[in-house]
């Protein structure tokens, strides 16, 4: 247990969450080893975003426990959360950039509001973060003046400027074309190694996730039905994993059936 | 907008705002607070109707003080009016105090008409010669009656 909890930066056990009658999380558990890139896969509506929001304390779970760095985070308890918040950043699906602040001000905000650094230090550290994410030239632009990819990078810069140990990504590739998806995963993997943070990514983009991640988990109907390495995922015989993995083939079969049906119809007429 | 520019504008606004507040409180509100030394005396009226604490005290039409308080004297049911007057102004003992009105429906004030005595009123002394409020209702009645007699267009006589 001792050695194990040292290795695991984040341990989630038996998380439950209902919205009225709707059970979203039903005893979800997950282990995130220190320094790794873990991806949680799942269909839309499987409870992936809610899982992350429980971690970020935006949503309060009904029951279950979260251990961060061996310490229990009590649900809704401000003091035990303060340490976690300092060491963890959250990247929203919508980026949630402050649209009335410039790129530089966006990055500087978490430092200004949560640290006692001087203005000069804050400026230096923010510029450094922008430089690392290659947005230095756009420091005085507003988020609306940046492209979608740049906004994503800016959000990442804002997330890492506080030098967190854990970064949570909520659907970073949602709605992007395949090339952009690759670029985002490449960016996460690159900066994850560069800055040495632990990354927990929630997505439904299977191909990219399998290539980029160290570990993969599959969430279905609020439960974790698979947890392991990408190689184990590819070899797994769990029904849900097979469905997910072989969805392209399933599509092929469905389409073939439709075409056969059309062919029969045209023969009939 | 740059923080420094922002601060400049806000600073200007705050100066303007403080100036306005000071203007209101000092120029309009609290004139009596910033005046010099004052002393208090009393005057007995049979009727102090319409007079309030804070009403002006005038000598020859010039404000020299304020009414501090009004109470009923329990012995003869007359009104005891406390007047606070500038210390620099010496008033003879035979000064007459009368309650008058600015305009027709204006505020009541106390007019002091200094006499010719050699001795002067001191703090706490009492003005004996007084003239009470004019009974407005009878006055208006008279005027209305008079104006009807004279015709509609002629203005009412000044009181």
């Amino acid at each position: 247990m001792g050695a194990d909890s040292n290795q695991m930066l984040l341990r989630i056990e038996g998380l439950n969450k209902c919205f009225g009658e709707n059970v979203v999380l039903d005893g979800a558990s997950l282990n995130v080893p220190r320094g790794s890139l873990v991806t949680v896969l799942g269909r839309s509506g499987a409870g992936k975003s809610v899982l992350l929001k429980c971690l970020a304390d935006v949503v309060r779970p009904d029951s279950g426990s979260i251990h961060f760095d061996g310490k229990l985070l009590s649900i809704g308890d401000v003091s035990s959360r303060a340490d976690f918040r300092r060491r963890c950043s959250f990247l929203f699906q919508s980026n949630a950039l402050f649209d009335s602040l410039t790129a530089l001000e966006n990055v500087a905000l978490p430092l200004e509001q949560t640290t006692d650094l001087s203005d000069k230090e804050i400026r230096e550290r923010s510029l450094e973060a922008l430089r690392q994410i290659e947005l230095e030239a756009h420091q005085d632009r507003y988020p609306s003046q940046l492209s979608g990819g740049m906004q994503k990078r800016l959000a990442l810069a804002r997330a890492i400027v506080t030098r967190p140990e854990l970064v949570l990504f909520d659907e970073p590739t949602a709605g992007l074309d395949p090339l952009r998806r690759n670029a985002v995963f490449a960016m996460i993997a690159k900066y994850q190694r560069q800055f040495g943070f632990t990354a927990l990514v929630v997505t439904h983009d299977l191909t990219e996730a399998l290539i980029a991640s160290d570990r993969v988990a599959l969430l279905d109907k609020g439960r974790m039905c698979f947890e392991g390495t990408p190689a184990e995922f590819s070899a797994s015989t769990v029904a849900m994993v097979e469905d997910f993995r072989d969805s392209a083939e399933a599509l092929g079969r469905t389409l073939a059936a439709i075409r056969r049906g059309e062919a029969m119809q045209s023969e009939d007429s | 907008m740059k923080q420094s520019k922002l601060e400049l504008y806000v600073g200007l606004f705050v100066l303007l705002g403080i100036a306005a507040i000071v203007y209101l409180t000092v120029k309009l509100g609290a004139k009596s607070l910033i005046g010099g030394d004052t002393y208090v005396m009393e005057a007995r009226f049979t009727n102090a109707g319409g007079l309030n604490a804070g009403s002006s005290v005038l000598v020859a039409g010039v404000p020299v003080g304020r009414v501090e308080g009004i109470r009923v004297d329990g012995t003869d049911y007359s009104a005891m009016v406390t007047l606070r007057v500038e210390a620099g102004l010496k008033l003879p003992t035979d000064t007459m105090a009368s309650i008058k009105t600015t305009g027709l429906i204006g505020d009541k004030y106390v007019a002091l008409a200094p006499g010719a005595d050699d001795s002067y009123l001191t703090a706490g002394s009492r003005i004996t010669m007084t003239e009470s409020s004019v009974d407005l209702e009878s006055l208006i009645g008279k005027m209305a009656f008079g104006s009807v007699e004279k015709g509609k267009d002629s203005p009412p006589p000044a009181p």
Binding site: L109, T114 | A20, I21, G106
Partner: protein, 258 residues
């Protein structure tokens, strides 16, 4: 029917309690807030500098109209000399605080409610919370503290400009002696009136800015609409309720103080 009334009353009580907690939370967040001064300056800019033109214009016209109407009414009684009394007392006691507050609601309050609503909608408020930044301390506390200072200032400016407006229409247009006007102004206004004026301004500032912030901040809880509609609905509600509360509070304060 009875149950509907009961349910409605309960929901009002619930919302009032929620609003009171919200305001209390905003003040409590001032403790430990970082770089609060800078945020207050920005809020002071929004409520002060931005709203200055409308305060001056409306104040000037209010004074002009009061001077004009007052002159014609008083002229019938031959008491034009009381014009200063009429203009100054109406401005200081009622019109100044109430109209200035309504103008500030229209300009700063509506902007605040809409801005917070959009920030709620685009998860910017949630983002602040996940960063460990108190959204109350960052977004609402500075505005509330600024309002406590800015509202009395705006009101004083409104009254001052209004008094000059009154003298303008009274003496310049209608030929009243300026000395007569100003002496009756100075004579009429007492320290008590100015104090009442300031108390009203501070109360209106506290109530309206807190109410606008409350509705904007809770735009996601709007039951009748979602998304952009929720922002517009909560902004409308913020402005309407703020306007009502200004006049209601005005009546209550007046009846207690006079």
């Amino acid at each position: 029917m009875l149950r509907a009334i009961g349910r409605y009353s309960l929901s009002i009580v619930h919302e009032l309690g929620d609003f009171a907690l919200f305001t209390g939370q905003s003040f409590r967040s001032a403790v430990g807030a970082r770089r609060l001064g800078r945020r207050i300056v920005r809020a002071g800019f929004e409520q002060g500098v931005r709203c200055l033109p409308v305060i001056i214009i409306v104040g000037m016209f209010t004074g002009l109209v009061l001077g004009l109407q007052g002159y014609y009414v008083l002229n019938r009684f031959g008491s034009e000399s009381l014009l200063g009394t009429l203009v100054s007392l109406s401005l200081v006691r009622e019109l100044g605080p109430a109209l200035a507050a309504l103008m500030l609601v229209g300009q700063a309050g509506s902007a605040l409610a809409a801005e917070l609503g959009i920030q709620r909608n685009t998860e910017q408020i949630a983002a602040l919370e996940t960063m460990g930044v108190s959204s109350h301390a960052y977004l609402i506390t500075p505005r509330l503290l600024a309002a406590l200072v800015v509202y009395p200032m705006q009101t004083a400016l409104f009254v001052t400009v209004g008094l000059w407006g009154g003298s303008l229409s009274g003496s310049l247009l209608l030929g009243l002696e300026p000395g007569v006007y100003w002496s009756s102004v100075e004579h009429a206004v007492k320290a008590q009136d100015v104090r009442e004026c300031i108390i009203k301004a501070v109360t209106f500032g506290l109530l309206t800015i807190s109410l606008c912030a409350y509705h904007g901040f809770n735009a996601h809880r709007c039951s009748s609409a979602t998304g952009a509609r929720a922002v517009s609905a909560s902004t409308t509600r913020a402005v309407v309720q703020s306007s009502i509360i200004v006049l209601a509070a005005d009546y209550i304060i007046t009846s207690f103080l006079v």
